[in-house]
Symmetry: C2
Subunit: 148 residues, 2 copies
Amino acid sequence: MTEDEKFMHSAYLEAMKSLEEGGIPIGAVLVIDGKIVAQGHNKRVQKGSAILHAEMDCLENAGRLSAKDYAKATIYSTLSPCPMCSGAIVLYKISRVVIGENKNFVGGEDYLQANGIELVNLDNAECKKMMEDFIQNKPSLWNEDIGI
Amino acid sequence: MTEDEKFMHSAYLEAMKSLEEGGIPIGAVLVIDGKIVAQGHNKRVQKGSAILHAEMDCLENAGRLSAKDYAKATIYSTLSPCPMCSGAIVLYKISRVVIGENKNFVGGEDYLQANGIELVNLDNAECKKMMEDFIQNKPSLWNEDIGI
């Protein structure tokens, strides 16, 4: 298992935690200098939140970081980051984004790359299956989460 | 005073509330069908938050809205929305953005307009003065808020 696969598995466990809470199964972790400094998951259902996507929750849990910290950070998300989360990544100039998959949703990938951010897609089977099942089971909740 | 100026004044009062709390003076209100449905202000200092910019706080306070509601909404912000806040506006397809000014900071305006969102700049003197004074007084806090 590569480092990226290891951290993605941590993001996957965050997503599973959300699912167990009755929420949307998307998880994220923020890694700096080879260590997880924050984790998060989608909290639309749990907190009635319009902004706590997994990546946003993870950045919020990381607290106030310096530009220097963000510059050496990698954010792992089980799913391609939506325009809001991509915008947050661009704002803070997080240098690297690793995604579990983009088969179920393609977010602001062009926007990230246009801003010089490295994007890696692991095309991870467990992430794809988890999201595919969720979208099939709760399509209206999923649509709400992506503004449809 | 036009409708836009009236709602911008409400956003300005939110910004002033943040300033009184020791925070960053940026405020926002969300208007649907001619009524303010939510207001918010930057809470970096107040909550140690990396994601609660004024527009994000306002969208969070609005709660879970339908795509139909977002489509007829206007968001008012005292300052040009950063990439994160612009991304949130793009995600939810909020149709109209009114800003107090963009003299002190230019955010994701091109990104908004490329996504068909109407952008109006009121070039408001009190918004400009408030932000100019704040940036002069607390440059490092301001830089942190925009990822520098």
